[in-house]
């Protein structure tokens, strides 16, 4: 009794002493630096959009299908097979059972509904849920004519893409390209246009004359392209909405169609002046032409930065054909490419952080990117002939074309591809016939 009492006393005394002596202990906190992760598409569950009638249900399924295909194609998302879904569409209307979606490792859940309105319009609702945080990330409704459902699907996919990545989407866009057919020496080239996913394909010109290098305006649904009248290259301005087309001018010695300035009010191009190619701008309203370079070397392929303050172009002024950047008034010229081989067709990303280009080295073509100061150069893809990079409006994805060498019968094939700027997720963009020179539209206004 006495013994245990004593030990108790000493234990308590010690405890008290330590407690008082050290004061209130600081709260521990474990600091953890996470520096290693992995790159893999985000698993998302995209449920068929719910509807009451059979017809609407079909639209609901189609909507989910297009959204799913858009997200999958981006390479950033992996739509989960519907067969794995646990919660059914009907009960989902009352709200997600998050644990069901976590079980199949869906990180995000997309649900929606389709309903025909009394006025004949279609109402499309959708919600995006963060399954692990158990939060709605966004929810929107759209009204449209039923035949316009596909576009609504792209718009919804853009909203989801933006909410999950922080980046603007690019699904509600189109590409114009040069559709090619016939033998090499009598190639028929006409303009084709299609949605970014290859749907709604159609031809814009008949193929009576050669068309080359279409370029999209970054602000309007307008393109420029080059065509030949006899031997003389002529530049056209083509409004896709109205179908109206006008001649910008005949430009001897021109090889690429002009590119638009970021505000869409000017075009920039290279013209042969006294037999030497220099860079000019043309105001689209006044048609006033201004010369920017004056150098005995060949300067071509100008492309504006998205802020309009700088211009990338290529020049052989250093001996071989390399990339240069200058201020928009033609001053402060500096070379940015220094690797071996020749560089061509620089295209400034709409995001501003990169310049895409074509490079030819050791008998191979590359599509690459570098920062506007020349650092961070990476080759994204290569081939016998890869050319004509064009950016999706969010600056995340590039399109270009790839040609095979002639086969035994002299036939070549040419196809349009897309690739993510990380260099992964290269995909063919299927076209009805051979295709080259893609030009990506801005988001459709």
């Amino acid at each position: 009794m006495n013994n245990s009492a004593t030990s108790f006393v000493s234990a308590v005394a010690l405890a008290l002493a330590v407690a008082l002596g050290s004061g209130v202990p600081a709260r521990a906190e474990l600091n953890v630096d996470i520096t290693q992760g992995f790159v893999e598409p985000l698993p998302v569950a995209i449920t068929d959009f719910y509807a009451e009638t059979l017809e609407e249900s079909k639209t609901g399924k189609d909507l989910a299908g297009v959204i799913s295909a858009d997200l999958e194609r981006s390479g950033l998302f992996r739509p989960i097979d519907h067969g794995a879904f646990i919660q059914d569409a009907a009960s989902l209307r009352k709200g997600p059972r998050f644990s069901d979606w976590r079980l199949i490792n869906a990180q995000a859940l997309i649900q929606g509904s389709v309903e025909m309105q009394p006025d004949g319009r279609l109402r499309v609702n959708f919600r995006l849920w963060d399954v692990f945080a158990e939060q709605q990330m966004t929810g929107l409704a759209y009204f449209t004519t039923p035949s316009n459902w596909r576009r609504v699907a792209h718009i919804v996919a853009d909203v989801i893409y933006k909410r999950l990545t922080g980046e603007d989407g690019y699904f509600d866009t189109r590409l114009v390209y040069v559709a090619e057919s016939g033998p090499q020496n009598r190639r028929v080239k006409r303009l084709g246009i299609m949605d970014q996913d290859g749907e709604n394909h159609r031809f814009l010109t008949a193929g009576n004359e050669l068309v080359l290098t279409p370029r999209f305006s970054p602000t309007t649904q307008e393109i420029t392209y080059l065509s030949y009248i006899g031997e003389i290259p002529r530049v056209y301005l083509f409004n896709l909405n109205t179908g109206q087309q006008e001649v910008l001018g005949d430009f001897p010695g021109m090889t690429f169609a002009p590119r638009f300035s970021p505000d869409g009010n000017k075009v920039i191009m290279s013209l042969a002046d006294d037999g030497n190619s220099e860079i000019f701008t043309m105001d689209l309203r006044t048609r006033g032409v201004k010369r920017l370079t004056s150098h005995p070397a060949i300067d071509t392929s100008p492309s504006y930065s998205p802020d309009g303050r700088r211009i990338a172009f290529n020049s052989d002024r250093g001996g071989s054909q390399q990339l240069y950047v200058m201020d928009s008034d033609g001053g402060n010229v500096r070379r940015i490419s220094f690797n071996q081989g020749r560089y061509a067709t620089p295209v400034w990303s709409p995001r501003g952080d990169l310049v895409a280009f074509t490079r030819m080295s050791n008998g191979e073509f590359y599509i690459g990117v570098m920062r506007p100061d020349g650092s961070g150069e990476r080759m994204l893809t290569k081939g016998f002939l890869v050319e004509g990079p064009t950016w999706a409006p969010n600056g995340r994805v590039l399109s270009y074309f790839r040609q095979t060498p002639a086969d035994s019968r002299g036939r070549v094939t040419s196809k349009v591809y897309t690739i993510d700027l990380t260099g992964f997720n290269e995909r063919e963009l299927a076209t009805p016939i051979d295709a080259s020179d893609p030009a990506w539209s801005p988001l459709i206004p």
Partner: protein, 286 residues
């Protein structure tokens, strides 16, 4: 005898005091503080906080979808492509949906939680192990190797890139804890967490300035290794920067999807509070 009673009484008071105030720090029994509710995860069952902001944001969408197929045959040589009339389809209007079927749960990051409150949460294990989610979809091996070693691809240097950087074990690069655990022990705990998290943290290398999106997240843990609360620390940047927001939400998802953490329960007091810093710059090659 009277002395004995007095002593006994004093000791009892002392014992109670100890119980109330807490044991000395080296034993580190969790403080007994009034339970302060900390929200998190299973908020869907809680009282709905209807925040309906029916902002009808009619966005006049132009519908420039050209309609008639141009007849290529009819196009005359002087290039006059068939006009592509704009489709008369009305533009889809956009309306912001109020979170209606399931009122949007209050967002943790919007919560005016104080760090103190987070810190004082009772460390009692949750009875509902509702968050023990199996994570069936561990990263798969095959073509991923490539991606881990070079998250930004360079076809010209592919072989060199692969050779240069063998898939390395995630190295815990930061490990500081205040008192309690020995540096060695802290490092071991951090190693467990970083290794565990490397299978859960999905990064998006193509985002603009992805390498500089460093996200801090404070986490409160339950004894069973599940997550009691997560809080993204930089709430102002969350609101202002869409890239940061998605990176932060992504990091939060990584933590939530990675639970339970395989941490030793006897060292719970060391890891019951963690401060995560997600920094992808190393993966870009520093």
């Amino acid at each position: 005898m009277g002395k004995g009673v007095l002593l006994s009484g004093a000791l009892h008071v002392a014992a109670i005091l100890v119980l109330v105030i807490g044991l000395p720090s080296f034993v580190s029994v969790p403080e007994v503080a009034p339970p302060i509710p900390v929200e998190l995860v299973e908020l869907d069952e809680q009282a709905p906080k209807p925040s309906p902001k029916p902002k009808p944001k009619p966005e006049p969408e132009k519908q420039p979808e050209p309609e008639p197929e141009p007849q290529q045959a009819e196009v005359p040589p002087a290039p006059k492509p068939e006009p592509i009339a704009p489709e008369p389809e009305p533009e889809p209007e956009q309306v912001v949906l109020p979170p209606e079927p399931e009122p949007e749960p209050p967002k943790p990051e919007a919560e005016p939680e104080k760090e103190k409150e987070l810190a004082e949460a009772p460390p009692k294990p949750r009875t509902k192990p509702q968050l023990k989610i199996p994570v069936p979809d561990q990263p798969q091996e095959p073509e991923k190797k490539d991606r881990l070693t070079s998250i930004l691809r360079n076809v010209e240097k592919l072989k060199e890139q692969q050779a240069a950087r063998p898939a390395e074990e995630p190295e815990p690069s930061g490990a500081q804890v205040r008192p309690q655990a020995s540096p060695l022990e802290q490092r071991e705990l951090v190693r467990i967490v970083t290794q565990h998290m490397s299978r859960c943290w999905r990064i998006e290398p193509g985002a603009r300035d992805a390498q500089s999106l460093v996200v801090g997240i404070k986490v409160l843990m339950n004894r069973d290794g599940s997550v009691r609360a997560v809080k993204i620390t930089d709430t102002s940047r969350m609101a202002a920067d869409a890239f940061y927001r998605s990176a932060a939400e992504n990091a939060r998802r990584a933590i939530l999807s990675c639970q339970p953490f395989p941490l030793p329960i006897k060292r719970y007091e060391v890891w019951q509070e963690m401060r995560f810093t997600f920094n992808p710059s190393e993966m870009f090659g520093g």
